[in-house]
């Protein structure tokens, strides 16, 4: 009887252990292989490779995935729609437009290591994502009407996407750089990016966790949630803020990574039925593990070449959703 209730902490533990294992693998993947890890004690170059390149990007993949998993779970709860994803409120197009504008201004590529330019691009992506969400909120005249919010998100996404296309047509030389961003990559994540994502992640998770009972209430319907005496307007606004900030922080550092935010909460729900408080925590851990594993795959599959991790998550996530749909239709047919 009590099994369901024990599953949530067990799953959390399993996800943490698997993440730690994947992190160890991540340290060993690269042109110099696992030898760098073994040599790190006495070889300063090997240490630098492991400590300054492999560790932050592997950890960064986990953090970005966690942010996306968290915002996916918040989005699905907030919109009461299992197909909702973190980019629903236009943040993806906003971030892409931000990067396009920044590229136009700086005239540089996102693979540059010059920190001023890096900061400019990351900042532009973050600001773009958040401004897009604010625009969506303004169009929807607040957070009260979910359907209107969804429609406004779609409209903002399309319009900002069109503006971005206009910019790229005007100066085609930023196209390659922008495509790199759109595909998503963890290749340039360093320690400062990790720290930023960790801070945003911790803050968003804490706020989301504190607001999780609202999501439980909303699952029972708008009027039931209101009848519980919850200040729905303020809490919804706070949840939208969590959604926008978590998505923005992830997108700014790793570009547009598909499907992690959609798939992580689904995977969690297929294993354990629980409250949103647990769902948010577990989706964060699941998203982290998903993206970290996908990142390992992207680095390892065609080594020494690298696949853009966003391509891999799109393929894997798409196949997973297809399988999910297939399984559901089989069940429905019975």
């Amino acid at each position: 009887m009590k099994l369901q209730r024990r599953r949530a902490p067990l799953l959390a533990l399993a996800l943490l252990v698997l993440s730690a294992a994947a992190l160890l693998f991540g340290l060993g993947i690269g042109s110099t292989g696992f030898q760098s890890v073994l040599a790190a004690r006495h070889d300063p170059i090997a240490l630098q490779i492991v400590w300054d390149i492999r560790l932050p990007r592997t950890l960064g993949a986990w953090l970005a995935g966690g942010l996306l998993g968290l915002s996916g779970a918040v989005a699905q709860g907030l919109f009461r729609n299992p197909l909702a994803d973190p980019y629903l409120l236009g943040s993806a197009s906003g971030a892409a437009l931000g990067v396009a504008v920044a590229l136009l201004l700086f005239g540089a590529s996102p693979s540059t290591t010059q920190w001023v330019v890096r900061l400019g691009l990351t900042g532009a992506a973050f600001v773009g994502a958040v401004v897009a969400v604010l625009l969506t909120l303004a169009l929807a005249r607040g957070v009260q009407q979910t359907l209107r919010l969804l429609l406004a998100g779609v409209i903002v996404g399309v319009v900002l996407g069109a503006v971005k296309d206009l910019i790229t047509i005007q100066s085609a030389d930023i196209l390659v750089a922008l495509t790199g961003f759109m595909l998503g990559s963890t290749g340039l994540v360093g320690w400062s990016a990790c720290a930023l994502m960790a801070i945003f992640g911790a803050g968003c998770l804490l706020l989301g966790w504190a607001l999780a009972p609202v999501l439980d209430g909303l699952a029972l319907g708008e009027s039931t949630a209101a009848s519980l005496g919850l200040p729905l307007g303020a809490m919804r606004a706070a949840l939208v803020a969590v959604l926008a900030l978590a998505t923005g922080a992830a997108v700014a550092q790793t570009g547009l990574i598909a499907f992690v935010g959609l798939a992580a909460p689904h995977l969690v729900r297929s294993v354990v039925k629980t409250t949103h408080a647990w769902l948010l925590v577990l989706s964060t851990l699941m998203g982290g593990l998903l993206l970290m594993t996908a990142d390992l795959g992207a680095r390892w599959l065609i080594a020494p070449q690298e696949l853009p991790v966003g391509v891999l998550t799109a393929v894997l996530g798409g196949s997973y959703l297809l399988w999910l749909m297939h399984r559901r239709s089989l069940r429905g047919g019975r």
């Binding site: 039931t224 009848s227 005496g229 039925k273 769902l279």
Partner: protein
């Protein structure tokens, strides 16, 4: 009815609009404390809207008082502790499928809990009482999505009961319930009323509504009549509002409505 001084819920000159349509035209209704009142009327009479207004869930003109206090001025939490609500049509069209039955019932305790505080032993006791009274205790570890429509309805009723509020408002609570569980629902309501609580329900089953203490008859956004369920004037109002297509009879010590 005249012996009770302050009504549990009182609507005064309530107007409400949904979109561009005026749905309630100046309703004055005083629902007695410690009794079970049923609201009946044809489709589109505004019954559910009135119930939502009286639950403080819908903007409106006019005043609604809970034991003499203005509902609008009552803080949300205080209102939620004293006024429980069971809505129509089940739980959010499937979005609650992944919640466990126990966790759903525990949501009813939210108005009594401090923010972020773990449920107290009193909360757990209230949830157990509520789930047992609707015979849903055995499913407490099952997700809502695995239950049938009627079973779900009993869990949602338990959620509303778990609030242990003075006043319980229910919008078509008998939807999806089979006759034995409709009878169980009536016993639950009778027990609540015997305990001094006030129950207000919008009902489609006229015979069930006639088992209530008082009946409010509505049509086209207006209150036509409010009186004791046993009164002949109430029966006349009921027959009239349904175009005399129903007749009310006394059978085996109960009032029942039969199609004419």
């Amino acid at each position: 009815m005249t012996t009770r001084a302050t009504p549990a819920l009182q609507a005064e000159g309530v107007h409400a609009t949904l979109g561009q349509t005026v749905v309630l035209h100046g309703i004055d209704l005083a629902l007695p404390a410690g009794r079970w009142s049923a609201i009946v009327g044809p489709n589109g009479a505004g019954k559910s809207t009135l119930l939502r207004v009286m639950a403080g869930l819908l903007p409106h003109e006019g005043a609604v008082r809970l034991f003499g206090q203005s509902l609008q001025r009552l803080p949300g939490r205080a209102r939620a502790q004293r006024l429980a609500w069971l809505g129509q049509g089940g739980a959010g069209e499937g979005s609650a499928d992944d919640l466990l039955v126990y966790d759903v019932a525990m949501l009813g305790r939210l108005p009594h809990q401090r923010w972020l505080a773990a449920p107290s032993p009193a909360d757990h006791a209230a949830v157990e009482r509520a789930l047992r009274s609707t015979q849903a205790w055995d499913w407490r570890e099952r997700p809502l999505g695995q239950l049938s429509g009627g079973e779900r309805q009993r869990v949602l009723l338990a959620r509303a009961l778990a609030v242990e509020a003075e006043v319980l408002l229910m919008d078509e609570p008998l939807a999806n319930l089979d006759p034995p569980h409709q009878a169980d629902w009536m016993h639950t309501v009778r027990a609540l009323v015997a305990d001094g609580r006030t129950v207000v329900s919008v009902l489609h089953e006229l015979s069930m509504a006639l088992a209530a203490d008082t009946v409010a008859v509505m049509a086209e956004g207006r209150l036509l009549h409010h009186g004791e369920a046993a009164d002949a004037s109430t029966h006349r109002a009921l027959e009239h509002v349904f175009d005399d297509r129903v007749a009310i009879h006394r059978v085996a010590d109960q009032w029942i409505a039969l199609p004419r």
